[in-house]
Symmetry: D2
Subunit: 326 residues, 4 copies
């Protein structure tokens, strides 16, 4: 399958590597408006390069992976679909709920084959926890806890255009909550300002989110823009017969015992490129397999819309101090 | 030091055992209105028995441990103080915030020596986590997570008179939150009804509580009336330089590896008598030492009042869907 | 049951405390030739004091706990038995195999009630591992690994009279090996001299022991006189259907995560008084219960003899470089 | 760098995959006498195919990876060196110590660039433990423990031609022992026959090996041909200031808590293809980098000779019951 990539930034590089390693995909064309960016990526992983995203959309590739800035997502998903391409679009699906909903309407009748890049659904550890729940080993699922902390805050310049912590960072966790307890009926969120350096961004640098599903299950999300020990990514699914817990990953299985500590492991894997390397690869496999088989792609456009809706509800709740009903 | 105990029920037995094991305390008199209950306890751990609590209050004991039903707490604390006794009163301090506040006012000027039985503050593992924070090893404390799940729900008859999950069960966790992040400015709580068997009690059997301190720290409490693996008692203190995590305790340090699992530990210690046995003993030590030295007793009457105030705020928030400002 | 203790040193204190805490035993008389030693112990845990061991042997106590220097063990066990007392004798049973065998012969026909103090058999974690094996959860037991390292070497003056590392330290592990794989047919041992400070003692300060049972099971013992992280006491039972592993114990269930380490636990419990506190208590319970019920006491005199025989075989193998057949 | 592979069996496939994934190596030619075997591998990972190993040796490839049966190793290493190729030879280096020593002599003066495939030296976890020791974090290294158990025994037909457990299986651990404590002065080994099914092979299916280095350090190796929980691969380096421990790897970081167990992980990774996938890749990287830079390749021919010598000494010790001095 011939693959085009739009956007040669950090996440575009992740996908380019995954495509290069795939036995069934071929990296055909990469676009990035920054001069030289696409070339550099193509030199490393194969394919041609361009500065014009439309060249990818109008090329003969079978599928497009969209890694461009968020404001461009919706139009590129739609254009790629109109030229018959399958699409793997990075999260969030669009810059606003309205735009995402408009995209969903625009795609109707176009036989869209669109998958949204919530890569964590494909993480082997999270997937194993969900599989245990799906097999009934935990009984009735009742409480889910998601901890998600970045190792360090992004630059203030990024925060300014990020859309806010809920759309930028929590959205992964909000999708994970929906993945595990289904559609959400009620949201309450608390925003935190922990780092004085970031106080003047107007954004929160931490959050506590409580989500209640239509059938009374609860998921809590704990976010922080910083974590001294690394990229803190944990999950707990609690059911009335048991629980599944996903701990952080470390670089090795080595532990140290000294006069000061025992069983001390290394800090967590530093960030998502390491922590979710396997998830990105499995995500691509699922995309390629789904496109090849013509089966429904998941996470879907609707998942992309709903996660955005939750992010907006979180922001609304955090700023109003009110529970938001959906 | 001569000790009297009022109430020979489950928690009275815990204290009687701790007193009997203490090298500096002597169990002198036990009262319980149930015929034979105090006698049985005295036969096992020493001292005399009576069915009349006032006999303890008017005896020559140096200190009274109050393990009676909650509605009797306030009056017994006051009466014991008036007869010059030091008091260790089980939680909650009173049946209502109003009653607790009235008690606090009544005690003024009486030179009260009253400690409230929030035993978990004395648990070696929780205390080690707090000590790490106090030593600055975690940097600035920002987020605290408390998980507290009982192994199984009490009888419905108990739930009916329990005062509700927040006063009955969460109150321990609310005190722990105050212990770790200080006075609370804002509370939001979600009540859960997970077990259909308990739906008609009018009480929740689970809760998610978010507490914000006056200086912007956050604590979350996750409660459940049941947990298949045992008494789930965990704590995490997250600071900007590190975190301290307290895992559950097991009966032994043994793990099993089979064709199905690896590193499998035994289920958690079943309930508070086992899990907090050492905490109860250390609590008594602290009480005896404080009384002997004439130093301030902690947790204090104010801690008892504030934890009740938080429990009431939780109930209010859970039933209204509104954040409660304190 | 009235208990006498001979020897008020470190291990005598352990037993005195256990007796004092027991609901069915009463500390009656303590003997130690060091002026004041027995008095100090009696003042703390009850009973009378003497400097003459024979007073204990000839007193009206029901049972004697022998905590005297090893050369006195055999004669005191025999004398106590002759005056009708039950005996709990600290390890080793005697100063030499020959003396132990002579004791065993001397006890014949005297209806001896003698237990040897291999306390580790009563450790809840080791006992849980053995129970898993006995229940068949591990399948056929094939390989046992015992790691036993002291936190720091004893004074050279002690080493000089200790009887050597195998009789003094390994003997606990040799008994544990017999406990787990049965009588031993073949021994090979390597002695190590790791700490140059101890090189001139003529004793080893480390050892690797390989024991083969009559039916082909193997146990390995790894010993060291020092361990920077604390008292390293681990066990692994490997069977063809699974394995049971006992990790070290720590003071609390707290772990730290910082920029340098994650999941770091505290160092191991420092030494046997903490690590095996529960084992000593359960050992006394078993002794008291066995004496009361008139059932066979275990570990038995034969266990005491065989462990000594193994210690001697280890020394012989380590010094000759030859496998020793038993 | 153009790579040729001799042998398209299980281990040849591992190397072919690693070469295909390497950015600096190109799979050029594969040889295997089994019709179709080399073709199948070439079809998957690239390059041409032949049934004649000499074609690889005489081709224009820069380096040869030798994955043929052991009896062919020595002659193919020599022939490849004579045609100017760098060589990565799978372990063992030769079928006997004599053959390996002859090879070492034959290679003298030929400017050999030969690396022996002891892949475990490149495992990130084992390497991290060694790095901690090399940095001095453990103080003086004193005792090393290596546990190495296969998930299940190979077919009897394989055992018959395997050269025996020490050359076939333990050799990896013997090299690891040398890697960690240096050249070995003394070997004692015990062979075990645990599985009655394998009793008539004339080979052991388990072993306990004790190795003493010239400077008095000790390493123990515990081997078994079977392990119900998976591929049991652990390491412990004990020094006088601390220890480094490598635990088994699991497929995910997920753990289960139920009414029966807590913190239960999945069984260990099943076998070397999964457990050492990263090690094989890093081994190839080291080989390619060393060849490109012209630096000494390690593990060296001498490492290959010495590990064989140790395997023979183990067999001799196990069959004679004598310690073997080297």
């Amino acid at each position: 399958m011939k693959i085009g990539i739009i956007g040669a930034g950090r996440i575009g590089q992740v996908h380019a590597r995954a495509v290069a390693a795939s036995p069934t995909a071929e990296l055909s064309l990469i676009a990035d408006p920054v001069p030289g960016a696409a070339e550099a990526l193509a030199a490393r992983y194969g394919g041609s390069a361009t500065t014009d995203a439309d060249e990818v959309i109008n090329s003969d590739v079978d599928a497009v992976i969209i890694c461009s800035p968020t404001p461009l997502h919706a139009q590129q998903v739609l254009a790629s679909t109109r030229t018959g391409k399958a699409v793997l679009c990075e999260k969030p699906l669009a810059a606003s709920v309205e735009e995402a909903e408009q995209l969903a309407r625009d795609l109707e009748g176009l036989n869209p084959r669109v998958m949204v890049g919530f890569n964590r659904r494909f993480d082997p550890s999270f997937a194993a926890a969900k599989a245990a729940a799906d097999r009934g080993e935990l009984g009735q699922v009742e409480q889910v806890s998601i901890i998600s902390r970045d190792p360090a805050a992004p630059p203030k310049s990024y925060i300014a255009v990020s859309g806010g912590i809920f759309k930028d960072m929590s959205i992964h966790d909000l999708d994970m909550a929906r993945f595990l307890i289904g559609d959400i009926a009620q949201v309450s969120a608390v925003g935190l300002n922990m780092d004085p350096e970031l106080a003047d961004t107007g954004d929160f640098d931490g959050a506590i989110i409580t989500l209640i599903s239509a059938d009374g299950k609860v998921a809590t999300v704990t976010n922080s823009r910083h974590c001294a020990t690394g990229y803190d990514q944990r999950l707990e699914i609690f059911g009335n017969a048991g629980s599944a817990v996903v701990d952080n990953l470390r670089p090795t299985a080595m532990a140290l015992n000294t006069a000061d500590v025992s069983a001390a492991r290394e800090p967590y894997l530093d960030f998502f490129l390491d922590r979710y390397a396997e998830a990105y690869s499995l995500e691509l496999d699922a995309f390629l397999a789904g496109v090849a088989a013509g089966t429904a792609l998941s996470p879907s456009v609707r998942d992309g819309v709903e996660s955005l809706r939750l992010a907006v509800a979180c922001d609304q709740s955090a700023r109003s101090g009110q529970v938001v009903q959906l």
